[in-house]
Amino acid sequence: MKNDPIIEFKDFSFQYYAQAEPTLHNINLTIHKGEKILIAGASGSGKSTLGNCINGLIPFSMKGEIQGSLIVNGKETRDQSIFELSSTVGTVLQDPDGQFIGLSAGEDIAFALENECTPEGSMKEIVHKAAAIVGMDKLLSSAPQELSGGQKQRVSFAGVMVHDVDILLFDEPLASLDPLTGKTAIDLIDKIKNQYDKTVIIIEHRLEDVLYRDVDRIVVMSDGRIVADMTPDQIMSRSILPPLGIREPLYIGALRAAKVTITEDIHPGRLETLYIAKVKDRLKAWNAAQVTQPEENKRPPILEIEHLNFSYSRRRKIIKDVSMKIHQGEMVAIVGTNGAGKSTLAKLLCGFVKEDSGRILLDGKDMAGLSIKERSAYIGYVMQNPNQMICKPMIYDEIALGLRLRGVDEETIAARVDETMKICSLSPFRKWPISALSFGQKKRVTIASILVMNPKVIILDEPTAGQDYRRYTEIMEFLRSLNQLGVTIIMITHDMHLMLEYTTRAFVFSDGMMIKEGRPSEILSDIEISDRASLKVTSLYELAQKAGIEDGEGFVLSFIQRDKEVAL
């Protein structure tokens, strides 16, 4: 019965009551039982709205006007209720922490059962079964703060598996996971789909990571419309993704660079299926023609960390004997799993916490004894979520805040804020309220509010988390331009693309120690280090290996350097 349609959009449009324009236009899409579909699109393309129409949040929780028809499991959604739909469609939301409702894993998994008045005895049994499917049955009594992001996501996953739902809907499942955990999540989704014969819909803009396992079709959305509905092979052989603000897999970029004509019959949809024999020679020839010169950094160090140790309590050391040097004007990444000590290092640099032993030197001067406020004149810290930083309703006031708190006179402030706004391309928004800005623009405001104080070093925590390719590029190009003005930039990140494309060096942390420093291309070609830091070896390296190119790292480096040149 594989061919029975289970979801059918017919001339479907949707408009939120609060909005002037429809968010979805004239959608026609049929999804059959047992299919695995990837819905891709940039932020604001309507892909999440499409998902919310399927699970019933639209129109039951988020109000708006529907035109046309959407049939899920044989019935118009608007004639069902969100509860009826939730027994057909199981949704795992993006934020693993926010959707964790219970006080323990078991309780969270049971949430849907509780609401259905399942008797307490049989509830425990069902919960245990569902938890076993996702491998969480040993951790049922764990509290949310004891679980990692990936484990929390598994709990949410089990929470929808307590019902025998037909459709599993994942809304950006990779957004808050590190690369390795993300890979495991994609694997698990695939396993469960095959074992229990579910229909799976994954909404995600990180194509390459989802395509680690096969999907039947990719539906591409843009401006509330479906612009493509094809197999991965078909999508990759046409260059429709980049103009829509979606990143193509890196190995596709490498094939293009090597002037390989990408056609369906080389199966470019996934690296695993790629017919390497056909492209091997071209790749090798291209690689041989590249001359790479690793950039040497001869500038003086700006930040020196010597034998740093730190622990919150005597029992567990968070930072163990870390020494590192960062040079003036560098743009570096600090990578590693959650709890490896990356954020603590940033806190030590900013003076939020004090080291037990060791030294931090800035421009050769020991920073011990400087207060948070004093350090902030040299080192600025930008948090991940701009909403965590913005505390004034107007852009101008927000950027001026730091200077005002330091008692700088208004005339000087006006001049400095103006200049900073110009650098950050915020001048047109001078008189705007912050609430009118997009996420990327807000991020720029928070960076501007730090930049205005003229720090020598800026530390950014996950500068691009959850951003689509277009916004990612916008934020990163902006950071690069700041870097070219001489600001040293340190980024704490999980994003391998970011590392590869925008940094010259990376420091890998694991369990409180710095286990490796080197070129990003080197780190992402090292299986052991990548594993320990919960990263993933880049597909460029895997492509090189497949093609039989010996110096895999050299290949990665050549491609990244060429890519930079093309971008300039």
């Binding site: 969100i82 949704t91 509780e114 909403n387 708190l405």
Partner: protein
């Protein structure tokens, strides 16, 4: 991180923790009512002693509740002093006799009656508090929500209790993060700054905290909707425990304590007050 620990529920395996939330809730009400009703200091001290013993049995360390005890003691002492300042002769009206001990002035004369009245009142607070602490710390918040629901409260009203406890530690963490980031922009929250400026600076932290929390509420609401919260008029509870014999025994015992409190008043004291002066 450290601050949020105070409110964390830590699972333990002992006779008190193993009672159902419903039992703990009922016992809490019964014991508090018995202490609230009686003005017989002998009885109150008796209940107070029992509740301290229970606190030990439940393995709740003094260290963990030290801060709470300090607050409570300060409150009791303050209350003691203020009661005397505002109504120094109230004991006289209550007990109908007057045995002075010490006189500051005609109005401010301390009598045995006043002393007994005030000590009784303080003892009431002092013995009600450990019962409250016990209930607060030894009850799993979801189980508490479950017991409120079983006691007749609508589950939609009971659930936010557990939800608040779930997200409270996170709000504290968020507050700390935001505070640090703002401090590095030059916001001074230390005592070096003037009081009004500090208040203003705290507002600067609350603004982003509210925004972040509102975002969070939207996600939680959606997650709850998607998993059928509010589907039917009833709901069951994963963390609810079935009533065991020990639960009924505990409830009966607490009921007896309340009965004693009432019987003592009716048959022996012939009033809510124990009057040794007549």
């Amino acid at each position: 991180m450290m601050k949020s620990k105070l409110f964390d529920y830590v699972e333990k395996d002992n006779i008190i923790y193993n009672l159902t939330g419903f039992t703990k809730f009922i016992c809490f009400i019964l014991l508090s009512a018995s202490v609230m009703f009686s003005y017989d200091i002998r009885f109150i001290i008796g209940v107070g002693t029992i509740s301290f013993i229970i606190l030990r049995v439940a393995d709740i360390r003094l260290k963990r509740i030290r801060m709470m005890l300090i607050y409570v003691s300060v409150f009791i002492i303050l209350n003691f002093v203020l009661t005397f300042i505002f109504s120094p002769r109230y004991g006289e009206t209550l007990y109908g006799s007057f045995h002075p001990i010490f006189s500051f002035s005609e109005h401010y004369t301390l009598s045995y009656e006043q002393l007994l009245y005030q000590l009784t009142k303080s003892a009431k607070y002092a013995s009600a508090i450990p019962i409250g602490i016990l209930f607060f710390l030894a009850t799993n918040p979801s189980e508490f929500a479950a017991s409120l629901n079983k006691a007749g409260l609508s589950y939609k009203a009971a659930y936010p209790v557990s939800l608040t406890l779930r997200y409270f530690p996170e709000m504290i963490r968020n507050y700390n993060d935001i505070a640090l980031a703002q401090q590095s922009r030059g916001l001074d929250l230390s005592k070096k700054e003037k009081f009004m400026t500090r208040v203003k600076n705290t507002v600067n932290i609350c603004f982003p905290l509210i925004l972040v929390t509102l975002d969070r509420i939207e996600i939680v609401t959606n997650a709850m909707d998607l998993r059928g919260f509010g589907k039917s008029r009833r709901r069951t509870w994963y963390s609810a425990k079935p009533m065991a014999t020990r639960d009924w025994i505990a409830i009966i015992l607490c009921f007896l304590v309340l009965s004693t409190s009432i019987l003592l008043s009716v048959f022996i004291n012939h009033s809510r007050f124990w009057n040794p002066f007549s």
